[in-house]
């Protein structure tokens, strides 16, 4: 048993011009016992959430499928998802309803936090927590890690706890593997080795919390929030160490995945994004199967990235602005991104669990920060959803919003499908109090 009781009330705080943003969420444990398929031992399968992000948007002319409903043909840009078509819902025609002030930033802030970005000093940051953090705080307490962020070209990622508080992603496949499956990991069926150092590490962290508590009480209000965030991380680590001291859960689907290569050197000056992404997708699939985490974010590529993709004649961002005509090079890069999203879903589909596959229990949101890169449009926003979240979301569907509904409705549907009993999502123009019923079961 951990010596720390976890907060039942989940608090997400951030500094907002010296003030405090508090988002209080009620406890959710009750929701997990009502429905769901079971593990072999009768315990219930958890729900899992994934985010797959690619930067620089898409080309609406080649993105939106012609037909709607279940009987539709994938568009040229979505063709790489053909093998996952039955597990996929495509939502088109929605709009991220925040002022489009900062190119590539307003859209990601609007979709992921339901709020416009805020300005502090001369710089911009997210005003509140992103959806992966909201879900990790609410649901992640039962697994070893609340959330895991990674991505082949993630750069700083887009996971925020609040203003200027980012969760840095892992970009090195070997390091991601080591974090989850090497350091202290005990596979099901293995005898845990009693390690006195685990308890000692927790004692050290107790001392760290004591130091932080003293400091918190003498610094400014704003700094006390920063220290509380630090303390939350320390307690999180204590909890995850405590999990390692327990017997490993008996999960039939769990096994240690293959270890990634140490290095993925550039080829012709192009990073090996696909190879890195795929091995990290395999790693994270097993992290879910082994219940090491229930929430992940894969920042495959980042907003404004000028990455040289294989065969591309210029950086991705440059091409979105400067390539003339139908932008065949942007088209080819966006297709590569969709191939990687397809692999993300396939990696989850490949793992058998219960009566189905790992993907059954997942909701994986695929999105970018804009639609048409050339003009940073927030209309006709690209939204893809993989998995049914334990039968709560429809699959195999193209839903088209003819009334330019808010993208926040999709987010609210996803959060509710994950079990958060939220009445609304977002603020200001991005506020919604109903989900997108067409994609809900």
């Amino acid at each position: 048993m951990s010596r720390f009781k976890l907060n039942r009330r989940t608090l997400l705080r951030g500094a907002l011009g010296g003030g405090v943003v508090t988002l209080g969420l009620p406890p959710f444990e009750a929701f997990f016992n009502s429905t769901g398929t079971a593990y072999a031992d009768g315990s219930l399968l958890p729900r899992r959430f994934g985010l797959f992000w690619w930067g620089n948007g898409m080309l609406p002319d080649f993105w939106v499928p012609t037909e709607t409903g279940e009987d539709y043909t994938l568009s040229p840009l979505l063709e790489p998802l053909e093998s996952m078509r039955q597990r996929l819902t495509v939502v088109t025609g929605t709009k991220v309803n925040v002022p489009n002030i900062v190119p590539h930033f307003s859209g990601s802030a609007g979709l992921l936090t339901g709020m416009p970005e805020i300005q502090i000093g001369d710089d911009y940051t997210f005003a509140g927590p992103t959806i992966d953090v909201v879900l990790g705080q609410a649901l992640g307490g039962q697994s070893r890690f609340r959330r895991i962020e990674f991505g082949a070209a993630a750069k700083e990622g887009l996971s925020f706890n609040g203003p200027h508080s980012r969760n840095p992603p892992e970009t090195d496949p070997a390091a991601l593997f080591r974090r989850i499956f090497v350091e202290g990991f005990v596979a099901p069926g293995d005898e845990p080795v009693f390690d006195p150092k685990l308890a000692l590490r927790r004692s050290v962290l107790d001392a760290v919390v004591e130091d932080a508590r003293r400091l918190r009480d003498v610094v400014s209000k704003t700094d006390s929030i920063r220290l509380e965030q630090h303390m939350e991380g320390v307690r999180e680590l204590e909890r995850s160490i405590a999990r390692l001291e327990e017997d490993p859960p008996d999960l039939a689907a769990c096994s240690v995945p293959p270890e990634p290569d140490v290095e993925y050197p550039d080829v012709d000056g192009r990073p090996q994004l696909s190879a890195k992404n795929r091995v990290m997708c395999d790693t994270i699939a097993m992290a879910l199967a082994c219940d090491q985490t229930r929430v992940f974010s894969n920042f495959f590529s980042y907003p404004v990235n000028n990455t040289l993709f294989p065969n591309a004649p210029d950086g991705h961002h440059n091409l979105t602005h400067d390539e003339p005509g139908d932008q065949p090079e942007v088209f080819a890069i966006t297709r590569q991104c969709m191939e990687e999203f397809a692999y993300q879903l396939q990696a989850l589909e490949n793992v058998a669990e219960g009566d189905g596959t790992l993907l059954d229990s997942c909701a994986v949101l695929g999105a970018s920060e804009i639609s048409l890169g050339r003009i940073h449009s927030l209309e006709e926003f690209p939204i893809l959803i993989g998995g049914s979240c334990g039968g709560r979301l429809k699959e195999g569907l193209h839903y088209r919003s003819e009334t330019q509904e808010s993208s926040s409705k999709v987010v609210l549907s996803l959060l509710r499908a994950m079990g958060l009993p939220l009445g609304s999502w977002g603020e200001g123009d991005a506020f919604v109090d109903e989900g997108l019923s067409a994609i809900e079961v």
């Binding site: 009781k5 976890l6 907060n7 009330r9 608090l11 500094a15 508090t22 489009n100 900062v102 190119p103 502090i120 000093g121 001369d122 710089d123 706890n161 200027h164 980012r166 969760n167 840095p168 090195d172 390091a175 006195p196 150092k197 590490r201 050290v204 962290l205 001392a207 130091d211 932080a212 508590r213 400091l215 918190r216 009480d217 003498v218 610094v219 400014s220 209000k221 704003t222 006390s224 929030i225 220290l227 509380e228 965030q229 630090h230 303390m231 991380g233 320390v234 999180e236 000056g269 000028n306 040289l308 210029d314 950086g315 440059n318 602005h321 400067d322 003339p324 003009i375 940073h376 449009s377």
Partner: protein, 540 residues
């Protein structure tokens, strides 16, 4: 030494030549150690051979500086894991079975648990790591975990590693606590304490924590006096570690860390390889070091000097004869080479370009924002920023960006950036010299704030002589040194720093001394602590 004498004179004159400027400073903020600072302090405490794991909480860059982000960001849950891993790795390397723990621990332990020995070792280490006296309660916690570990593991040196790990994971180490005290010389005002001034100076000047001499000066109360500060500042600027501090400043200012991720298409640029970015950074920093430390020169030469330092790779890109077979050597450029000064260096030219094409806008923006401290708004989010493809009618970039300059909505900003950037069009996206583009001769002439230039060689003079050049460096060093944008109550002091820099003949050395002895670096405001908390779950 003549040199030292000049410095002392200069720093004294800062206080006497001009009227003191009143300061209205903001509330003090905690600053997190940057990655480099963490590594430097660990090397100071445990030796340069100790290897810190590569991944630590990333620096947060805000308003152009990690130094400012350090005062805003917190530590993520992942960062806590990484700091833990680093702490045990460092402790193990310093005190583990492969190390020579007796070299670090000043006493011989009597057994697996020896509280007095643990207290002696950890007390001194925590004092140096936390940069201030350690309370009995704090030391008690460190000794307690050490005793518990020694008993559990049956070995003193194994046990003491847990005490070391506690020191290195503590917010007392990871954050700089500089909260100030009542200022007896300024009733009603607050100043940073002598201990806090030691940290402020050492992290600014050396990019690491204070050494023993500085801590001794702090303990003696010297660092709240003008003379004490000036004496330590002179000593510190004469120390080789000052090169590290100045390098850190210019690396942040010119965003040279981005050279690690330089994206250039090697199928277009045959010189491109993993070593190019690092070499470019070294060239720029060697120029800074030579001007600031070896020559105490007018820093405008950074922009106008025909001397630079290159390795064979850079020499081949610049198409000049390499002065050395390996490493860096001094080279002299002439007008035929077309380039001189920082604005002719790859680190400026390549970083402010696209992977394949040069960018007049990015280069002009850098000159405006970073060298002249003029701000330019972001383009509106919903405009089409594309420029026409090269064609027979528009072969050069100047022809192609003409749109920016003719469309009203764009021109407002682009006409203050593009004409400067077009002055560098003789350099391609990597920084190679060229005279034609698409068969047409490149025209690099232009006007910067009313001063005409024919090419980049002349443009260097225009930038260096610009009235904002000196005050911009002063403002940047202030932001880097204090970790925040200047508040209204600090602006007169920052302006005075700029005036001092110009009066000194643009000596960076003098600017640093002016800053650390200035009230704007030494005074602070009272902390308003948090109100009693309404929510904190189990942690009351």
């Amino acid at each position: 030494m003549k040199h030292l004498h000049l410095l002392l004179t200069a720093s004294i004159c800062v206080g006497c030549a001009t009227e003191p400027v009143p300061v209205d400073p903001p509330e003090p903020r905690l600053r997190r150690l940057t990655q480099d600072q963490y590594r430097n302090v660990v090397a100071d405490l445990f030796g340069a051979d100790v290897v810190v794991p590569p991944n630590l909480e990333p620096d947060l860059t805000v308003d152009g500086f990690a130094a400012i982000g350090a005062a805003l960001g917190s530590i993520s849950a992942r960062g806590v894991e990484q700091y833990e891993e680093a702490a045990y790795s460092v402790a193990g390397q310093a005190l583990g079975s492969e190390a020579d723990p007796a070299a670090l621990v000043p006493c011989t332990p009597s057994g697996a648990v020896d509280s007095a020995c643990a207290e002696a070792f950890l007390g001194d280490l925590a004092f140096r790591a936390w940069r201030r006296p350690v309370s009995a309660e704090e030391l008690g916690r460190l000794v307690a975990v050490t005793e518990q570990a020694g008993e559990s593991l049956g070995d003193f040196y194994e046990g003491v590693q847990f005490g070391v790990a506690a020191i290195l994971q503590s917010p007392n180490f990871l954050f700089r606590e500089e909260l100030g005290e009542d200022d007896p010389d300024n009733p009603g005002g607050r100043r940073f304490t002598s201990w806090e001034m030691a940290s402020r100076m050492s992290f600014l000047l050396w990019n690491t924590g204070p050494d023993a001499e500085l801590l001794a000066a702090a303990e003696a109360g010297d660092l709240v006096t003008d003379d004490g500060l000036a004496a330590q500042a002179d000593r510190m600027m004469a120390d080789p570690r000052a090169r590290r501090g100045i390098r850190a400043f210019f690396t942040e200012l010119y965003k040279l860390q981005r050279l690690d991720d330089l994206e250039k298409d090697p199928t277009v640029f045959v010189h491109m390889g993993d070593d190019v970015g690092a070499a470019a950074r070294e060239e720029t920093l060697l120029n800074v070091e030579a001007l600031v430390f070896d020559e105490d020169a007018d820093f405008r030469e950074f922009i106008t000097s025909d001397r630079t330092f290159v390795n064979p790779k850079l020499a081949s890109i610049y198409n000049i004869r390499s002065p050395v077979r390996e490493g860096f050597g001094e080279a002299t450029l002439d007008a035929d080479d077309g380039r001189r000064g920082f604005l002719g260096q790859l680190s400026f030219l390549a970083l402010n370009s696209h992977p394949i094409n040069s960018s007049a806008t990015l280069r002009g923006k850098f000159v405006r924002e970073t060298l002249l401290c003029q701000s330019i708004p972001d383009p509106p989010a919903d405009v089409d920023t594309s420029i026409p493809e090269p064609s027979g009618n528009a072969p050069t970039l100047r022809d192609r960006v003409a749109d920016h300059l003719s469309v009203d909505a764009c021109a407002g900003c682009h006409e203050i950036m593009d004409p400067i950037g077009l002055g560098f069009e003789n350099f391609d996206a990597l920084g190679r010299w060229r005279t034609t583009q698409g068969g047409a001769v490149i025209d690099p002439s232009g006007v910067l704030d009313g001063v005409a230039f024919d090419n980049a060689w002349q443009l260097a003079d225009v930038v260096a002589e610009h009235e904002k050049f000196g005050s911009c460096i002063a403002r940047s060093l202030f932001r880097f040194g204090v970790g925040h944008l200047e508040e209204p109550g600090e602006r007169p002091s920052v302006a005075a720093l700029g005036a001092d820099l110009e009066a000194s003949g643009f000596r960076i050395h003098d600017l640093v001394l002016s800053l650390v002895t200035s009230p704007v670096f030494r005074q602070t405001a009272e902390v308003t602590p948090r109100t009693p908390r309404l929510f904190f779950g189990d942690d009351s």
